[in-house]
Symmetry: C2
Subunit: 298 residues, 2 copies
């Protein structure tokens, strides 16, 4: 039975696991994201230590990586983190470094594409043709798994930045995105919520007006995704979604905004099972990384 | 060599062709869209007449159909036009009718998915992983071909209805969409342009302010599509795009709006070859229908 190293590479921390499958995670460890050299060294040291301790060999590694990344296999920068604002991480060769340090095949994708893939393989989107995973945390990002494969294309989805209709009489907040004057992430990320209200999102009561505004922007994004790519399941995770009432509010607003236009029972009758929380809980990303590790030697 | 019947089924007319391939269209005919029975009868009569006249047998039929349609092969309404506003056409069994009247296999998809597929097979998106086709005519609709297959999912793309940021101080026009208060089709379709300015789009001079507004909305839609599904080629056709300057304006505005966020050469350096007119001219749809007819017996 093969053994896999899985990495959920985030801007704050790298979560690592050794697993024989999604239900057989043998060990985990977390390292702070410092410099690329130090962080990747720590990860490889951890995997090497696990092998030494157990005598079991890790056959491949999967990485669910913060982005933007280069997913073009024909590019010399395939497997790199490219133009991230994260200091020191621009142009980091993640796949090449892991491969040369550890000597096993490395599967690689964005964190959110990997999460969509994990949910497709083993979670709320199991076996479905079009699975969308959106994370609403400090930032907002989304991934797609289409016909069983994480979606690439020109680059990869960056759907956290779709344009919002902002009614400044109701929400005069100035978009927090450094690139766009009215995008989903800039108006609805955890960072935007913190800035708009001057307190951390977790401190806002259920009846605070923050949630109506939040749900409205999220519903705009979800509506645009439905219209563009027709997902069979929309899975929303991330820190802000711990505010459970948001799911209900987003579902209602999506239905209102579509206004009967996409007239299918999944939306008109059963939206509770259409816009859902992750089937894998907080493990969508790491399970997706396991899936990428499996694929790269299959 | 097989022979195919191809139908581009629109709300105004049905364009039909008999072809052995996209470069070998043997005959064409056009019928007005009247009642479903009459129109489908006319189409079948045309194909039967062609067979009688030439002695050649048509082996399969492909339909690029106006929508919304049911593309779910597990549904009893697979191959139907569903809840269209077109009088008399709600719940029309297109595939079943053609199949029973003509007795050959029938391939079926939306007009815009078929156009995306045609462009993927033989046009501007040849062989690319993610091909997006947008038509800007009386209405606005878009299709996707991903990894060589027209995209379905919960339904099919309906990307003409993505939400727009509308600055009512610059454009006080009331959205013409009966479903949405600020969507692309409602603000930028040919119908919307006619209503906003009181004349037909073709009569508006190149320096008329209409085009700035038009290009802005189209660029918003295109930006959202890029961020959501990362197309490798964006092909825009339809009547309004005969105003050639629109391509240039849309490209510039897409680049401005993304503002460096999707930092890839296709957009930053070579957008002229990224957002393009159809490689198949006005034949994207009918060629896509030929592709669907080929597939259904392959």
């Amino acid at each position: 039975m093969a053994l896999y190293g899985a990495i959920e590479a985030g801007g704050t921390k790298f979560v690592c696991a050794v697993a024989a499958g999604p239900d057989d995670i043998r060990d985990t460890a977390t390292f702070p994201t410092t410099t690329p050299a130090e962080t990747l060294e720590a990860v490889c040291g951890y995997f090497a230590g696990y092998q030494q301790k157990t005598g079991d060999k890790i056959d491949s590694i999967g990485v669910a990586c913060f982005g933007p990344v280069d997913m073009n296999k024909a590019s010399d920068k395939y497997g790199y983190i490219t133009c991230t604002p994260k200091p020191g991480w621009q142009d980091t060769d993640v796949v090449g470094s892991l491969n040369s340090k550890f000597g096993v095949p490395v599967g690689f994708d964005t964190d959110v594409n990997a999460a969509a893939y994990g949910e497709y393989l083993w979670g709320a989107g199991k076996g479905l043709g079009v699975v969308l995973y959106l994370t609403v945390g400090t930032g907002i990002g989304g991934g797609l798994c289409i016909n069983g494969k994480p979606l690439h294309g020109l680059m990869h989805p960056e759907m956290g930045h779709v344009i919002m209709q902002q009614d400044k009489t109701k929400d005069p907040f100035e978009c927090a995105c450094p690139y766009h004057d009215s995008c989903l992430e800039g108006l609805a990320s955890g960072k935007a919520v913190d800035l708009r209200w001057g307190v951390h999102a977790s401190e806002l009561a259920d009846d605070h007006p923050a949630w109506e505004i939040e749900a409205d922007y999220l519903a705009q994004g979800v509506m645009d995704y439905i219209l563009t790519v027709s997902p069979e399941k929309i899975i929303i995770g991330g820190g802000l979604m711990h505010k459970d009432l948001l799911y209900k509010m987003v579902r209602e607003k999506v239905r209102q905004k579509l206004n009967g236009y996409v007239n299918v029972p999944a939306i008109t009758e059963d939206i509770e099972n259409y816009i859902v929380s992750p089937g894998l809980g907080t493990k969508s990303g790491i399970c997706g990384a396991i899936g990428l590790a499996i694929d790269v030697i299959s």
